[in-house]
């Protein structure tokens, strides 16, 4: 007997006014413009799901198919998710945290957590009959959409700003999408794509199929709880871009509790932003629930969302869970990337630097208690943003191919210790 894989998703529901809609490619409530979210038959999930059933599933996020809005049988699964949770003793020691873990999402198929959201969006788009998968992106999302479209037999149309670094372009081009370089800044791409999304009958992963797309992020919460031995952590530190990831991690804990798989979570949720694009951190600092959109100016381009769709919900979550929000400079981001690499052997992109630097800032401010079981989310790999650290690393030794040349150069590095 195979495992039953039919989805338990029942409807889309407006987060604001709770009006319900069928499971179609729509994302905004017609009445109040609130975002739509997938609802599930939790009674049926509770009767079906068990820790053992999940543990028997595939080593990807599709092991949590009972909580996802599409059928596992037809999944476009290139292996997203079920990434390592590392006990970060060295980084913890450096920061003064006794119980720190790193969720290492750099090892996804296209090296970022975006594979989680795209595997769901692509699967649902194909299920709904779409043939074209589209997105607007500054790198990570474009890479993931291109890869999943290729694997799922869909056509990809991907929009990027024309000044995007060449390695990020290549990370999409290799999968042969229609790559559109838009002449203009970030705002211009945004405006154009918002217009296109309204006119073309394509599955824009983070527009018309956004309710499904964003469900992918909650699998980070599922995995962390499972990897901790079926419990939610005391404290989470996660980057905030659109805010969707930040909100959905918590939803993951809540859903596991609803299904009876873990105790009710008391997790404090803290956020991390780059000062150069910190609408949520700024509003948080000012004690306001109304963020003001910003024009991004930071090296953390994958977090550079000036007008975050889930900004309000992020602020509400900070408030409701007794969290806090870090805001760190570009220099601190680079230092954070280096610290993570030098202590834990994890090479993260700039967003990871934002998280580590915020972890430091929040610990120093007393917002994170040293003994709290804290999980920091590292969402993308460093090779995506090599230019950020290229100028600040140790230069290699260059020597002739002989013993003496090596000794001379090495001794110069360690004048006191010699070559023990």
């Amino acid at each position: 007997m195979g495992i039953m894989t039919m989805s338990f998703a029942t409807n889309l529901r407006c987060r604001e006014c709770h009006r319900e809609y069928p499971l179609a490619a729509i994302h905004v409530c017609e009445f109040c413009f609130g975002p739509l979210e997938v609802t599930y038959d939790y009674d049926a999930i509770r009767k079906t799901v068990s820790r053992e059933r999940i543990e028997r599933g595939p080593a990807s996020l599709w092991r949590y198919a009972d909580f996802l809005p599409c059928d596992r049988e037809d999944a476009i699964d290139i292996g997203a998710g079920f990434t390592p949770l590392i006990r970060a003793k060295n980084l913890g020691k450096a920061l003064g945290l006794n119980n720190l873990y790193i969720k290492n999402d750099t090892v996804n198929p296209t090296w970022s957590f975006k594979d989680r959201v795209v595997t769901i969006a692509a699967t649902k788009a194909r299920e709904l009959g779409y043939e074209k998968l589209a997105c607007a992106s500054t790198g990570n999302l474009a890479n993931s959409v291109s890869a999943h479209a290729a694997a799922g037999g869909l056509e990809a149309v991907v929009f990027i700003p024309n000044d995007l670094e060449s390695n990020k372009q290549l990370g999409s081009s290799i999968y042969a999408p229609t790559l559109v370089k838009v002449r203009g800044n970030y705002d211009a791409v945004n405006r154009l794509c918002a217009e296109l999304a309204g006119s073309y009958n394509w599955a824009f992963v983070n527009v018309n199929v956004r309710p499904y797309y964003s469900e992918g992020s909650k699998t980070l919460g599922f995995e962390v709880a499972e990897q901790l031995g079926w419990r939610a952590p005391d404290h989470v530190v996660s980057p905030i871009a659109s805010g969707s990831l930040f909100v959905k991690i918590r939803k993951g804990f809540d859903e596991l509790a609803k299904a009876g798989l873990i105790d009710a979570p008391k997790t404090r949720m803290s956020g991390a932003q780059a000062t150069g694009c910190s609408p949520v951190a700024t509003a948080w600092r000012e004690g306001s629930m109304n963020f003001r959109p910003q024009k991004p100016d930071t090296i953390a381009k994958s977090l550079a969302i000036g007008n975050p769709a889930d900004g309000y919900y992020s602020l509400a979550q900070l408030r409701d869970t007794d969290g806090a929000c870090g805001s760190v400079s570009d220099d601190e981001i680079v230092t954070g990337m280096k610290l993570l690499a030098e202590t834990e052997g994890v090479f993260a992109e700039t967003a990871g630097g934002v998280t580590v630097a915020s972890l430091k800032q929040l610990t120093e401010a007393g917002s994170i208690h040293p003994d709290e079981l804290t999980v920091a989310f590292i969402t993308g790999a460093g090779f995506k943003t090599v230019e950020a650290v290229a100028g600040s690393l140790k230069t290699p030794l260059e020597i002739d191919a002989n013993f003496d040349s090596f000794e001379a150069a090495y001794r110069e590095l360690q004048p006191v210790a010699g070559v023990a």
Binding site: F33, S137, F159, V207, S242, L303, A304, I305
Partner: protein, 80 residues
Amino acid sequence: MAIKRVRFTFPEQLIQEPVIYKLGHEFQVVTNVRMADVDQTTGWVILELDGDAGEIDRSLAWAQERGVRVDPLDGDIVEG
């Protein structure tokens, strides 16, 4: 004819100005405030604009020139 939904964010110096009223007079566009939150120092309004597509675009450019931030309703759709 077209209908466009946008989010206006007002800086402090514009809070007391009747920007939406003026927009409706300067351009052949019907404005409909659907949601809003305005206080003494900042504010946002979700606005539905009904009219000729070119006229709507001109009216939005006019609002931006006056210092209003105009965004698509869904927030940024470019992601990392």
